[in-house]
Symmetry: C2
């Protein structure tokens, strides 16, 4: 069909009742483009290695932008099909996507953040999604094309770790992604995997906004001693080595885990904590990147 | 070909020069069965969520069994195609799989542990493996069918998080898996994903050996205060809720991270630490499970 579709099916020449899969595919692509065009900035949050706090960083970044930008302007697409955790972290467990006359709506979380996650489609917590790649690609495509996201300033896409089906699908489905934020912990084992994430983004032609070092150092709440559980400084070092911006370090704080479990985003609960200050600095750097990037595109025109 | 192959190709009737893909597939399956039949116990280490220390647990369990069982009797298949970390943790970075007259050999690590990982095939650390599911399935199949594992008492398979292509492939390729060890951290967010891992194993008919709670509590090395960074007890609770055995809790110890980075397995370096004692208890429980399981199969015959 190659974009020249006149609405008529190539196989049967019928317009309304046609079920030709090619036409369906083309229509879905058009819907996806139309939905995505209403979202100003698309940012993917990735990590080479799992469990570095990628979802925690996504949720708190989205929250920071939502507080700053106003309600209903920020969305999160939880693209982790097998282990979606964003709903739990935003206190949205048990919610479902709702169909209404204009389409299927995202679930609205704190500060009006619009959230779409596989979790909203599962019957219960114990249900695993035992899917191979092509089905996951299809699900993510539908999340983008068939959900009424509306006009958004920011969409954060929380991707599962690695460089496999889901990250590839998202990068291919959203060709005008502003960039990726890469989350890591300071350990060397994690650093090795960060290099892969940077090369992945570069190969796909997506700008690297920068690296966030999470779980960076720990201050004992009893005695104030600083203990580097997963070491410190690895994020900054790897950013230098790979010539990508370093966005900041977020210290380990047991309250972050406890808030995630309670479903209350940390930065809203603890506005004066060192971790919240770190998030605020990261937000500023992301904004600078976006402005700079827009300027560069303007000049290039 | 359905197992009735006489070595002749269905398409061309030639024996030696035949390149019929069906015959190749059948031959590979035969090689896989033959290789796997020489391995006494196959145990997969899984987690719903990433970054819970699954690879650290795999490496230290394998090490414990290798010390106990003697050299060259334990293997690790690092089935994390996108973010392989086992070689780094065992000090095997930069090693390559070697071809010799009898086939391709695993790399030999400390205490004679035989290791196969995607990492041994990559040109450098920065090279990401940007593969979708079918290619990953093929790679894992070859790791099992074309590597000269030899006679092993134990093969530990370190799986990437989730319930997608790699875990599915491994479970389908090794139908007589003894069972799975599920690793989690105590946080509620992780607990929700553990439920999925247990259902996944049950659906595929693989026994759950038990749950390990990693990063359980933290004792400040300066003042001795106990700080529950990711909470404590979640693993035991979820094991009870799901009626699966609880294998033990491994406390957070900054030395574990530091040893992983150095490539020296923790339990060999710190034989008297609380974390090593926890590993030893877990090993005993796994052995009990295997004996009990063997007995049950004997009775069933």
């Amino acid at each position: 069909m190659n974009g020249e579709c006149d609405g008529k099916c190539n196989s049967c020449s019928q317009v309304n009742e046609c079920t030709d899969p090619q036409k369906e595919k083309w229509e879905q692509e058009q819907r996806l483009k139309q939905k995505i065009s209403k979202i100003k900035h698309k940012i993917a949050v990735i990590s080479g290695k799992g469990g570095v706090g990628k979802s925690t960083v996504t949720v708190n970044l989205a929250m920071a932008f939502a507080i700053y930008k106003g309600a209903n302007k920020v969305g999160i697409l939880d693209a982790d099909i097998h282990g979606p955790t964003v709903p739990k972290m935003l206190g949205l467990k048990g919610q479902k996507l709702q169909a209404n006359p204009t389409g299927i709506s995202p679930v609205t979380g704190p500060s009006g953040i619009k959230v779409v996650s596989m979790d909203f489609l599962l019957p219960n917590d114990a249900a695993p999604v035992i899917w191979r790649g092509p089905l996951k690609m299809k699900a993510i495509q539908q999340f983008l094309s068939d959900i009424t996201w509306g006009e958004l300033d920011f969409l954060f896409v929380d991707l599962p770790p690695g460089t496999g089906d889901e990250p590839l699908s998202v990068m291919q489905l959203i060709p005008d992604m502003d960039g990726v934020v890469i989350v890591t912990i300071p350990s060397e084992v994690s650093q090795n995997v960060v290099k892969k994430a940077v090369t992945f983004a570069r190969r796909l032609g997506v700008p690297v906004i920068g690296i966030v070092e999470n779980m960076s150092g720990f201050i004992c709440p009893e005695c104030g001693a600083k203990v580097d559980i997963f070491k410190v400084g690895g994020g900054q070092k790897i950013a230098q080595d790979l010539s990508v911006p370093f966005l900041g370090s977020i210290p380990i704080d047991p309250e972050i885990c406890s808030d995630s479990d309670k479903g209350t985003p940390f930065i809203a609960e603890h506005p004066n904590s060192p971790a919240t200050k770190a998030f605020t600095e990261i937000v500023k750097k992301i904004e600078n990147f976006l402005q700079h990037h827009a300027l560069k595109e303007e000049v290039a025109k």
